[in-house]
Symmetry: C2
Subunit: 472 residues, 2 copies
């Protein structure tokens, strides 16, 4: 008498030819079993040799669900769904004018500062403290002090907020190249400062830097020893090999630092489609896939190469991999762009999981910097529909799914949202993401996994107080 | 040099007099420690004596974050934040006309059917199969077959979707009392059916039923042995004691079944405030607390009494506790109503956690049936603001937080959303909520914890196939 309504689902899957699982069915099969022992066996309190952080920019739970429903069906599972430890973390920033008060909606710069340094800051800042504008040491800097290799990969410009927070300290995220320094005069090299984000990335000697943003590296340095050179020339002078396209990346060999710049600005999108529109909305539509030029490597390909190059150094490494355009297409109310980037990000996560199978001493973390606009809503009608923009997509299930973008007026840029977001992990120290944490604690988890910070006891009983008072 | 921006926060807390934690600080203190061992120790693969399910209707991650920020501050922690095991689950329903296809936005009836029976159905249905309209056995029915005590507590009508799915089978959730049966003619008692939701709740002999909805129980039964009696008269004839207000509830003694009906319809709200409005929005505001009449018990008080009465039976029990009006006030774009109900729900969770401290063989689950409309957005401006309704609240941090309601046109009822939602648990079998699951698996977890279903092996190798084919 009791039955799951499954039988027809397989027919649907045959018709669509897309991956998926049976609706109403548990992912592990119709009979759910106790996973207590499996979870216990997955707990690993040891140290990690490697840490890979996968950061889906703007990839809140709604964005994950949208991509899952569209790409593998509601009962399907993405690679990022499979990590054994899961929790949520809070993402609020601080107010620049009143840094004792929260700003409930973070931007990517303050968020990246939080997980990269362990300290919150105000929106727009990169690894500098709110109001007092003091540098905050990043996990890449700590890793380098201990002799670890480091890498940063993104589909945005390499000078965009997320990679920038790892390898620069500046009060304004828009100071991306030496010609972009108007908001940060005291950081200019010619003023004796650390320079733009592009300059600092190179000066940090990060071993592998892959992404877009060549325009920033073609700007001319205005002070210091490399004055008059472009950032790119300075990078080569400092020992970087440079890759400009997918073939260059394929050919890159271990032994030197690698700077891959695969686009003038942000890298190209994976998928295209109709943007969301005000009533009556766009769609129903299927997205147009495979739109990235083959001269640009995918995020998965960049991740694979970064892992190959870093592993060839035969020492521990920290690697950050950002799916940057999930956020950018959510801002633009472009569901196909957003989902395509989420799926591409998930393919990069798969590469990381493959690496971890061969290197089980790897901590993998998959999370977001903040949540975003898009919401899955019921089908629209004349009287009941989103007051913003919306689109209906035909999913892998063969069903219609409506996504609404309504944090801002139609035609204006959609906003980040302040909800807690998912964090998932596997490997040494991964159990620390379970529960409700703050994104500053991700820094602790990763740094502890790599033995960059000692256990509290080794730092003395007054460490907490000292850290609180800013003495440490 | 590095410091968390904390010091001023304490001043803020002193000024507001509200609970809170230091901004930028980890919940466990400034020094995060490895929680691997603590998590390992919390894993309990044994069976539970008791299961308490706390169901926040419409309480997605955004609703949780809103309540946390407002009530205890962004760095504070609610009781529901403290459970050791966390994950997300998917909530999609099935389409009535095409039950092999998903409906990506569930209602509370299909959702409750999923966790109460282990089977998905279409929106509006209660523990009946989509299209084929066959009854699906509920966890309360399974529990009663094994001699367990049962209870159901809600702030809505006892005939509302969530409690209804546990103790009734009907094709339409609006068939709440014998006079409400127009959409369900074949379920009428006079047609030889199971009767309305109110009638079935009583006929199920659930030991403790506490909530609103007296209007449904005052309707007259139209068929069967109790024809001509009101449902309330029938309840008394079947051995129920009846409580009509908080004093009655206080005075209720173990030994008989208890039906508490504390309002004609839904129970009163805890907090009042300005509803969200189109631009320029409402607020900044603080909510007006303590608005529930003292004649109506709080959800925490109902939970405490239910636990006392059920525990007095000295046998295992299953108890469901619903915070129902989180959803209802989210639909109405009423942030103070919504947050007040979330805080009241959290107080009920605290009562459950207290019970579990004395009875560690208790599985506690805290989750939602679906996510909802409300989003935390940046401060509005003339050019950039929600196209729906919004309100700015002054939080426990002493900061402004703007919440947007924009899944429907202003003045129209806000919509549920289809994102995955948080599930948290502690006690025996609690580790099974970690990762990404579906809400049908919550049924498995709870039923397995109470030994209502055996392990797969004991059910034979073909159980999965048999269940799939509807033979079991």
């Amino acid at each position: 008498m009791q039955r799951r309504n499954l039988c027809g689902t397989f027919a649907v899957l045959l018709v669509t030819g897309l991956p998926g699982a049976a609706l109403g069915d548990a992912p592990g099969g119709p009979v759910a079993i106790d996973r207590s022992q499996a979870l216990e066996q997955a707990i690993d309190g040891s140290h990690a040799k490697h840490v890979i952080l996968f950061l889906g920019d703007g990839m809140g739970d709604s964005e994950i669900t949208l991509a899952r429903n569209y790409h593998v069906g509601a009962a399907g599972r993405l690679a990022l769904d499979t990590l054994p430890f899961t929790g949520t973390y809070t993402t609020y920033a601080l107010q620049e004018a009143h840094p004792t008060l929260p700003d409930y909606v973070t931007d990517s710069a303050a968020s990246a500062t939080a997980w990269a340094t362990g300290f919150k800051t105000s929106n727009g800042r990169l690894s500098t403290s709110a109001r007092t504008d003091q540098p905050l040491k990043t996990i890449i800097e700590l890793a380098q002090e201990k002799g670890l290799a480091t890498g940063s990969v993104t589909t945005a410009e390499l000078t965009d907020a997320t990679p920038a927070a790892l390898a620069s300290h500046v009060n304004n995220r828009s100071c991306q190249g030496p010609a972009d320094m108007a908001p940060c005069p005291r950081y200019k090299k010619s003023a004796g400062g650390l320079g733009s984000i592009a300059e600092q990335a190179i000066d940090h000697h990060v071993d592998v830097l892959l992404g877009g943003g060549r325009q920033r590296f073609e700007q001319v340095i205005d002070g210091g020893a490399a004055a008059g050179q472009t950032v790119l020339q300075s990078a080569i002078a400092q020992g970087y090999a440079v890759a400009g396209n997918a073939a260059d990346l394929d050919a890159a060999q271990p032994g030197t630092k690698l700077l891959g710049l695969f686009a003038l600005g942000n890298m190209s999108l994976e998928w295209h489609g109709e943007p969301a529109r005000p009533f009556p909305g766009s769609g129903p539509q299927r997205c147009v896939e495979d739109q990235r030029p083959q001269t640009e490597p995918s995020l998965a390909a960049m991740t694979r190469k970064a892992l190959t190059l870093l592993a060839a150094r035969h020492r521990s490494f920290f690697l950050q991999v950002e799916g940057a355009a999930i956020d950018k297409r959510d801002h633009a109310a472009d569901p196909c762009g957003q989902i395509g980037e989420t799926v591409a990000f998930d393919a990069a996560v798969s590469v990381g999981l493959d690496f971890a199978r061969a290197h089980p001493d790897t901590l993998i973390v998959v999370t977001a910097d903040h949540a975003h606009t898009s919401q899955i809503v019921p089908p629209p009608s004349q009287t009941d529909h989103s007051p913003g923009s919306f689109s209906t997509l035909v999913t892998a299930d063969g069903a219609n799914m409506t996504v609404s973008y309504a944090t801002n007026l139609p035609g204006r840029m959609g906003e980040h949202t302040g909800t807690q977001v998912r964090i998932a992990a596997q490997g040494p120290q991964a159990a620390n993401v379970v529960g409700v944490t703050d994104q500053t604690q991700l820094f602790d988890t990763m740094a502890r996994a790599l033995s960059l910070i000692g256990p509290p006891a080794s730092r003395g009983p007054f460490h907490a107080i000292a850290r609180f008072l800013g003495l440490e």
